[in-house]
């Protein structure tokens, strides 16, 4: 008897369509596939960039050309053909937009389908949204309100035009061009992204939010996010990602840089729901992202992520705890199902004294997926009294999935305290039975148990996101007990 016959729910689940798998028919201004200096010059000129930006891109391109695409121990995929990707795709309605009402109706419909209708957002939740569709930021709301506090929240393209000195000073300062193959590629070809600047002492009164979507077929998304929190400031930033359903793989290679100056605090939350491919592993997004933040004295960076999508995820949001007393946090839930592969975790680099970091990682593996936690905790020789606590748990739903834990713990200071714990177990049959006896359906039971298991992480998400994340978890795992 096959697993599907044994469990009709499993069968039903594997046929479940990707909820956000629709494409938007709008005229796109798209470059033919291929990558060379000419393409980079074209991207730069289309965006009307200053000379220094072009030179920076070209330097990055040369660095990238000299690099080799990495091979990873626990991820198997067919490497993208970088000459078959189109490196620029912008919705054609490119006249500067005065208000939300001027946004292309098709685009608006897309946003509605995603459940992030801007009016709704504006009216109800007080979230400022920067919506990035295929790399170009379409519209940004709440700008005026933020401007009063001196907060800049705009697209990267706009920032390059309007605030070149800030961009020039910080871009590449946290994730150097040559950091890795994908950061070099991104530096050469990035088309847009979000830029955020919080001036000294300002507390951003609302959650800043961006939605990323890969829309156009055969486009890679290379967005670049730069977030600068000046001394004593605070910001909470949300990022949501979806992509339409396609047969071919789509590449997503973003770079996110966070700069937290003395006493500043940045909360960065991600709910990632890129298209994971179908049950056989066809299609889906390759999510190769470099996210890193640097903390000055007593600064704090907190990464929270709920990852349910993408065919292949390779992502380690990291903190460089440079300043004394700085704090890094990483809270993650990663769900893999069907043929998904995820290799995700964090790096906590303790350089300053009295630096603290916390890592809570909850992996959930279903279907035939492979889910790995990979994390580095490094205590440098000058990091006196550094502390780290890591807890990495894995929950297995089927006997055809895998759960792996690869922590690297490097300690070079005798005053450090580093603690790492990890467990791997199967979802509790007695827990499921208990729930069923109380009248819950199997789907509800699994949803409830998994949400309970991931609670520590979900609780770190801002309210609006937490609700969505809980729903996503349940949807991603319905009927997936083997």
């Amino acid at each position: 008897m096959s697993a599907a016959e044994e469990n009709p729910l499993l069968d039903e689940f594997t046929r479940k369509e990707y909820e956000f798998g629709f494409t938007t028919d709008i005229d796109a201004d798209k470059l033919p596939p291929g990558l060379n200096e000419g393409v980079i010059r074209l991207i730069s000129s289309k965006k009307n960039e200053p000379e220094w930006m072009l030179q920076w891109r070209l330097d990055a391109f040369r660095v990238w050309q000299s690099m080799k695409e990495p091979d990873w121990a626990h991820v198997n995929y067919e490497k993208p053909d970088y000459q078959a990707i189109s490196y620029y795709s912008a919705p054609k309605s490119k006249v500067p937009l005065g208000s939300l009402d001027e946004v292309d109706p098709e685009l608006r419909a897309t946003m509605d389908k995603l459940g992030i209708s801007m009016e709704e957002q504006k009216r109800l939740s007080g979230v400022a949204v920067d919506f990035v569709m295929d790399s170009v930021s379409v519209a940004t709301s709440f700008k005026d309100k933020l401007a009063e506090l001196g907060i800049i929240f705009c697209s990267m393209s706009e920032a390059i035009q309007e605030h070149p000195e800030l961009v020039r000073k910080h871009i590449g300062s946290v994730v150097p061009v040559k950091d890795n193959f994908f950061s070099a590629l991104n530096s050469a070809v990035f088309t847009d992204g979000s830029f955020c600047y919080i001036p000294k002492g300002a507390k951003c009164p609302m959650e800043l939010s961006t939605y990323f979507r890969i829309n156009e077929a055969g486009t890679g998304q290379f967005e670049r996010t730069l977030l600068i929190a000046e001394e004593g400031s605070y910001v909470s930033y949300l990022e949501g990602c979806t992509a339409p359903q396609r047969d071919e793989n789509q590449l997503h290679a973003a770079v996110v840089e966070l700069v937290a100056k003395d006493d500043a605090e940045i909360k960065y939350s991600t709910v990632q729901n890129w298209y994971p491919g179908d049950a056989e592993g066809k299609g889906g997004v390759f999510n190769f992202v470099t996210k890193r933040g640097i903390c000055e004295t007593r600064a704090k960076i907190s990464w929270t992520q709920v990852e349910t999508g993408s065919a292949v995820t390779w992502k380690y949001p990291s903190c460089i705890l440079k300043g004394d007393g700085s704090i890094g946090e990483f809270y993650s839930v990663a769900v893999t199902n069907n043929a998904q592969q995820a290799d995700t975790g964090t790096k906590m680099i303790h350089l300053g004294a009295n630096t603290h970091s916390t890592i809570i990682s909850k992996g959930i593996s279903a279907g035939n997926s492979q889910n790995s936690y990979r994390g580095l905790v490094q205590i440098g020789p000058r990091a006196r009294n550094a502390r780290n606590f890591s807890q990495c748990d894995s929950l297995l739903m089927t006997d055809t999935s895998g759960a792996h834990t690869f922590p690297y713990i490097e300690t070079k200071n005798p005053t450090a305290h580093v603690e790492h714990e990890a467990t791997t177990s199967r979802i509790g049959e007695d827990q499921i039975f208990y729930c069923l006896q109380r009248g819950l359906t199997e789907e509800q039971a699994i949803g409830l148990i998994v949400n309970g298991y991931a609670k520590e992480v979900l609780n770190k998400l801002p309210m609006e996101f937490a609700v969505e994340a809980r729903k996503l978890l349940t949807i991603s795992l319905e009927g997936s007990v083997g």
Partner: protein, 253 residues
């Protein structure tokens, strides 16, 4: 209301129930007593629909419905409640959220409208009072870090919330001190009514001082070997099980 006829059940290759028959009328309280390993908890698990056991012979009907055709959820919806001997811990899921999900899931399957937040909370308050459940326990994760007594009280609390037609209490008295026992019994007694039956499984007579049964059955070797009124419990307490079990053995021989 509940009719069990010639029930045979096994786990793996070991037969545990060997022709058990039992009938419960609406509003009745039946106690099942018996030595360790006689199959008491197996009976409770089978009634609730645990899949580890295989029923090889016999039937169970509940309100005229073939119970063995229903899965665990459907049985709960039909009105069967099992108070677990070892209540399960579910980390990260608050008691209150758990109950609300359960209650509304049952209501949805019965095609009833979900309970409003206000009504739900009023009900929680009333039921919690019944078993003197601390408000803090309602907000804590299901059974996590509860003491033995708190877990059992929580089971009765859930029973009160879900208002079953048939409540099966599996060794609810085990691990309780006398005060907790009284509280649990009070909770059960106040739920007794014309359309609610109880099957109280216990090893000791003392619970039956507090929850007075209409009938007492002795389960031994996978069958009901003796039935009687509430006075049977006292007799068992005094003389142990051996005389019945031995008599049965002689009879069979």
């Amino acid at each position: 209301m509940l009719k069990i006829d010639n029930l045979h059940a096994q786990i793996g290759d070991t037969e545990i129930l060997k022709g058990l028959s039992l009938e419960l009328g609406a509003g009745e309280v039946h106690a099942i007593m018996g030595p360790n390993g006689s199959g008491k908890s197996t009976l409770a698990s089978i009634l609730a629909g645990r899949e580890d056991y295989e029923v090889t012979q016999g039937s169970i009907t509940f309100d005229g419905v073939d119970l063995l055709e229903l899965d665990a959820t459907e049985r709960a919806v039909a009105g069967i409640f099992l108070a677990f001997q070892y209540p399960v811990e579910i980390p990260g899921v608050s008691n209150i959220n758990f109950l609300r999900t359960a209650l509304n899931s049952i209501r949805e399957q019965r095609e009833e409208a979900p309970l409003s937040g206000k009504d739900f909370l009023a009900k929680v308050k009333a039921c919690a009072q019944l078993v003197e459940l601390d408000g803090k326990l309602r907000d804590r994760s299901v059974n996590e870090g509860f003491s033995g007594g708190e877990k059992k009280r929580n089971e009765v609390f859930q029973m009160a919330m879900l208002e079953p037609k048939l409540a099966v209490l599996d060794e609810t008295d085990s691990g309780l001190d006398i005060d907790a026992l009284r509280i649990v019994a009070h909770g059960v007694n106040s739920m007794r009514g014309a359309d609610r039956s109880f099957l109280v499984i216990t090893h000791y007579q003392r619970l039956l001082d507090h929850i007075v049964p209409d009938f007492v059955h002795v389960l031994a070797g996978g069958r009901i070997v003796h039935s009687g009124g509430k006075e049977l419990a006292l007799e068992l307490e005094e003389k142990g099980y051996d005389w019945i079990v031995d008599a049965q053995a002689t009879e069979q021989a």
